[in-house]
Amino acid sequence: MVNVNVNLGGLEMPTFLATASGTFGYGFEYVGAVDYSKLGAVTAKGIRVEPWPGNEIPRHAEVPGGLVNAIGLQGTGVEHFLKYTVPWYREQVKGVPLIANIWGSSVEGYAEVAAQMGDAVDAVEMNVSCPNVKAGGHTFGQDPKVLSEVVSAVRKATKLPLIVKLAPNVPSIVPYVKACEDAGADALSMINTIPAMVIDIEKRVPVLANVTGGLSGRGIHPAAVKLVYDAHKATKLPILAMGGVYEPKDAIEFLLAGATAVAVGTATFSNPGTVSEVYDGVVAYCERHGFASVSALTGALAEG
């Protein structure tokens, strides 16, 4: 028997697998198609204090190896989330911790939504890296000083395990990792989508109404592995890794690069069975290689 549970900065996950924010609604949409018994956490779609309409359509474009999206963080506000969404999730999904993904347009906005969460959820993931909303998200993840300020504010506002979701498009991830560490984060998640653009060459217009978007899916996986590797070398904070996990090999790479847990994202859209297949494959890998626990894989690259 391989031990599959992990501890992500105080969040006890019954398995090492999570879902990535924005790819799994508010957690219950895939009931019937996804085997929730193999999930260690569900990360809900981004929530801010007030409801947010998101961007105009088209909001997505399929590209070779992935998906470019500019949904724009459409979501109900925190009040609706706490009153309806969380209870509905708890009723539909038993025993899988819920991570609330939060964002704001100001430091105060982040802190307020975190404070309002109370202990209704099991952890908070701060999105400081959404490429699709101008007045929020990304701007906070592009300067270590600003990042430190917003993480500190949220740290003061919540006792829940605090995960910070970092932007991939920075020259070095290390200053951002350090900023999170110093500001009291409990864990990191990476990577968010990579800023991207698709053009309709016949009409000579951008495909997305938002002009640019974020690339997710298979193609971003090696870039994500590299960033997880860099971050793990720089910190003891546990890492929830995401980016192009389609098969067991992808998750194992993340774990060996230093991740404590792994999230499935865009792959679920094409195959809701991905969670199950990745889980089974990682367990089988542990058995084959004599690892008694999945957590033993974290950073377990062979020396030399």
Binding site: Y30, I57, H60, N69, G217, F269, G273
Partner: protein, 257 residues
């Protein structure tokens, strides 16, 4: 909603790029209602490709039937699927048409938008109602499943832009004739529509503010198909609604054009 592995029973060309495909899909067929859709993982596309949504043309006796037009990479790949192949199909998804009707049931379809209307006509007829179907297209080649409606004993009134079949003009022309007749005798009606956006808007406007109901099936590019990703947005009086789960069938009065 489930992800069912479905064996292809039949797959054939209907002409002009339209095709018919049927699956053994007992679980999906059992729960399906008209206006719902299925999300198909198309064999032949790369494994990471997004699924493609299709309206349910009919679900009966464990069989799932779809009508589609080859319009892009996904439907082109679907062309290569053969009887006996097994395909991953998620469904039934979304909110379909209501299965009751206060007055004359007028069904309006444009092109492959007729796809969900056969299933609807069949179930309305099974309740003892007499749905009247209006179909439109550019030419007679765009009028689909006329034989199936005929076999069902449902009256079809057609219009084509070039006059190659039925009235020359838009599908709303014979519809308007019927609406005028109904109003003349004070008859009530409800509209059920699926097709291109301009047609849907025209139909919706014939219901809103008249005291009659309109049920409009919107077609938006989808990603997840289950309400998880928020890509397939339709503007409604409630804000940005997800076509895949709050629709694809919306009340005409709720739509914002």
């Amino acid at each position: 909603m489930i992800d069912e592995k479905c064996k292809v029973i039949e797959h054939r060309e209907l002409g002009s790029g339209y095709r018919f495909i049927s699956f053994e899909a007992p679980k999906i067929a059992e729960g399906a209602t008209p206006g719902q859709f299925v999300h198909v993982r198309v064999p032949g596309l790369e494994a990471s490709a997004l699924r493609r949504p299709f309206s349910i043309f009919n679900a009966e006796e464990g069989r799932l039937e779809l009508l589609y037009k080859t319009v892009g990479r996904g439907t082109a790949a679907l062309n290569g699927v053969k009887p006996g192949d097994v395909v991953s199909v998620m469904g039934p998804l979304g909110h379909g048409f209501p299965l009751k009707c206060g007055g004359a049931a007028l069904l309006v379809g444009g092109g492959y938008g007729v796809a969900p209307l056969y299933f609807l006509a069949r179930l309305l007829k099974a309740q003892g109602l007499s749905p009247l179907v209006f179909v439109g297209g550019r030419t007679k080649d765009d009028l689909l499943a006329l034989d199936r409606f005929e076999a069902l004993g449902v009256e079809v009134r057609a219009a084509t832009n070039d006059g190659s079949f039925g009235a020359k003009g838009l599908v709303t022309d014979p519809l308007d004739d019927e609406l005028i007749r109904l109003r003349g005798e004070g008859g009530k009606f409800e509209l059920f529509a699926c097709g291109p956006d301009p047609m849907l808007k025209a139909v919706a406007l014939r219901a809103t503010g008249t005291g009659s109901k309109g049920w409009i099936s919107m077609d938006r590019h989808m990603v997840c198909g289950v309400g998880a990703c928020y890509a397939c947005i339709q503007k409604t009086v409630r804000g940005n609604s997800r076509c895949c789960i709050e629709g694809p069938v919306f009340a005409a009065e709720d739509l914002v054009w």
